[in-house]
């Protein structure tokens, strides 16, 4: 954990941290990290495949065939505002 990572995490989580708190947090994670690293370093993971999902599941795929089962009108029926086939949203300033 470095200061920049902590600053960003704080910003993303809307946290206001004092300098003392930041030092404590960094020291806390540094200690845990070195402990964890020491434990992990003794394990040989060279033959272990990366886990991509907690369950042995995989997706099904579909063939590349185009179809159009929905109409624009049906999809836009609940829209607050449409115009000439477009959805309308509050103006986005570029």
């Amino acid at each position: 954990m470095d200061r920049d990572t902590l600053r960003r995490l704080g910003m993303l989580n809307q946290l206001s941290l004092t300098d003392v708190q930041k030092e404590e947090i960094i020291a806390f994670f540094d200690e845990r990290e070195s402990e964890a690293k020491a434990e992990l370093d003794v394990i040989d993971t060279s033959d272990v495949e990366r886990m991509v999902h907690v369950m042995p599941v995989f997706t099904v795929v579909r063939e590349d065939v185009a179809s159009q089962p929905f109409t624009r009108e049906a999809l836009q029926a609940g829209a607050p505002e449409t115009d000439e086939g477009y959805w309308c949203v509050p103006r986005v300033l570029e």
Partner: protein, 480 residues
């Protein structure tokens, strides 16, 4: 101090599939009405689940193999969150943790020689929709036709160091992806777009400078101009302190020739990537992987060498033909039918190239099939259709790839006539109408004969064996 430019590219390529990446809506929105190709899934309506299009994964694997990558045999999709009206679900389904292809290498060639550009990864993802700002002043109009159209993003390492190298790299990507038939890669059509990450550093330094990104560049010329401008701006800032460089996204204004700050650059944390719980991992088993490997085309260099050895083509001709897989297919098909690789080459590199230029078409837009071209070449070499009329047939073949050259020539009176009576009649008329040329020819001016010959051929609309006409003409002049 001398500086070097450090450039990494993120290239988005639209895959040439029929349907979108996670739903069955058509992936082709060109010419469509707004929101014509949409459904609850690509509109981000609650509860709709994505179903992966197999061909997208096929093309991701093929692109990875073409660019020398390792393929992740279990590849996963992740959510990238950002809030903007062109993204109805408020997240983009993309790949972050296990992209389909990693660690590739693309070799480019510039005036300075050959160089390898490392590919960090290729990931599959969905495109965003399109916003229209100029219909009304008070709203932004949203079109979701492009939403969920499949893309691959090819991320290079920062191995490029000049506009020339960037151009060579992009051209190489285009060639390889078009060879594999996975994408059109036409920047003018928006099927290839490029983000340029650039920084400068003193020559010899290993430390990267402050990086800026220019997004969605869509022409190679604009990219080259932007790189030159940004390089100069960065060096000026570093050397003379004209401004403080910050990591940010910039917009390139090609008309003004300047870049402008858009926003401070996001980092991965801002997007809150996390595994998409709606799409399970895609497992590429051995059979699938092998079938993709076996479907790869011959690489351009290998094809070029084979053309020289097998067909006896010159290096120049082989180089020209192998610029495009469409030209190669036309050449191989035509050679097989007409039996003359040299004739096939000449027709492609002269007449077909001319027509492509006239119609402002790229090589890969060629629809003339090799078999038909071979049949046309045979009609000419067998003396059934004159060269000038054969060009007319070829032009018609551009409009209708299914057209039979012989049938078209017959239906349009382009077959050479063996009617010597008709030729005699035309020769008599032309000779009688131009006594001066006749006298000039008899006086030793060979050009005068060519003038008479041309007029006869024109009157016969080219439907005449040139050798037969020439003999009849010379014999007749000798008698008058």
């Amino acid at each position: 101090m001398k500086y070097e430019t450090v450039i990494g590219l993120e290239v988005h390529v639209e895959l040439a599939t029929n349907s979108k990446i996670f739903c069955s809506c058509s992936a082709h929105s060109y010419g469509a009405q707004p929101n014509e190709h949409v459904c609850p899934a690509c509109c981000g309506m609650p509860g709709m689940l994505p179903v992966v299009n197999k061909r997208v994964v096929d093309y991701g694997i093929k692109a990875g193999l073409m660019l020398g990558c390792d393929i992740n045999r279990t590849t996963t999709f992740d959510k990238k969150s950002y809030y903007y009206p062109d993204l109805p679900a408020a997240y983009q389904t993309t790949q972050w943790f296990a992209p389909v292809a990693v660690n590739g290498l693309v070799e480019i060639e510039t005036s300075k020689g050959k160089k390898g550009i490392r590919i960090k990864q290729i990931h599959m993802e969905e495109d965003a929709g399109k916003l229209v700002h100029d219909i009304r002043e008070d709203t932004t109009h949203v079109d979701f036709n492009r939403t969920s159209v499949p893309l691959i993003e090819i991320v290079s390492q920062p191995d490029l160091s000049s506009a020339e190298e960037v151009e060579a790299y992009l051209e190489r990507l285009k060639t390889l992806l078009r060879y594999a038939r996975v994408a059109e890669c036409e920047m003018a059509h928006g099927t290839m777009r490029c983000d340029v990450n650039l920084s400068v550093r003193p020559v010899g330094s290993n430390k990267l400078g402050v990086r800026t990104e220019m997004k969605n560049m869509n022409s190679i010329e604009a990219i080259k101009r932007a790189i030159e401008y940004e390089t100069a701006r960065h060096i000026d800032a570093v050397e003379n302190g004209t401004e403080v460089l910050v990591q940010e996204t910039r917009r390139w204004d090609d008309i003004k020739g300047k870049s402008y700050a858009m926003r401070t650059k996001e980092t991965a944390g801002d997007y809150r990537y996390f595994p998409d719980p709606n799409v399970m991992p895609v497992v590429i088993d051995e059979a699938w992987f092998e079938s993709m490997k076996n479907s790869l085309p011959e690489f351009p260099e290998v094809k070029r060498a084979r053309y020289m050895q097998e067909y006896g083509l010159s290096e120049y001709d082989a180089e020209q033909l192998t610029k495009s897989i469409a030209l190669c297919e036309c050449f191989e098909g035509a050679s097989a039918v007409c039996g003359s690789p040299k004739d096939a080459t000449n027709w492609i590199l002269s007449e077909i190239m001319n027509l492509l230029n006239l119609r402002q078409m790229t090589y890969d837009m060629l629809t003339v099939n090799g078999k038909s071209l071979g049949e046309l070449i045979l009609l000419v070499s067998n003396g059934k259709v004159g060269r000038a009329n054969a060009k007319k047939v070829l032009s018609a073949m551009f409009d209708n790839p299914e057209l039979s050259p012989e049938k078209y020539a017959e239906e349009n009176g382009l077959i050479i006539s063996n009617d010597t009576g008709l030729i005699d009649k035309v020769v008599k008329e032309i000779v009688a109408s131009d006594p001066k040329s006749v006298a000039d020819y008899k006086g030793g001016k060979e050009k005068a004969l060519m003038a008479l010959f041309g007029r006869c051929m024109k009157t016969l609309k080219g439907n005449c064996d040139p050798q037969v006409l020439r003999k009849i003409l010379i014999d007749y002049i000798a008698k008058v």
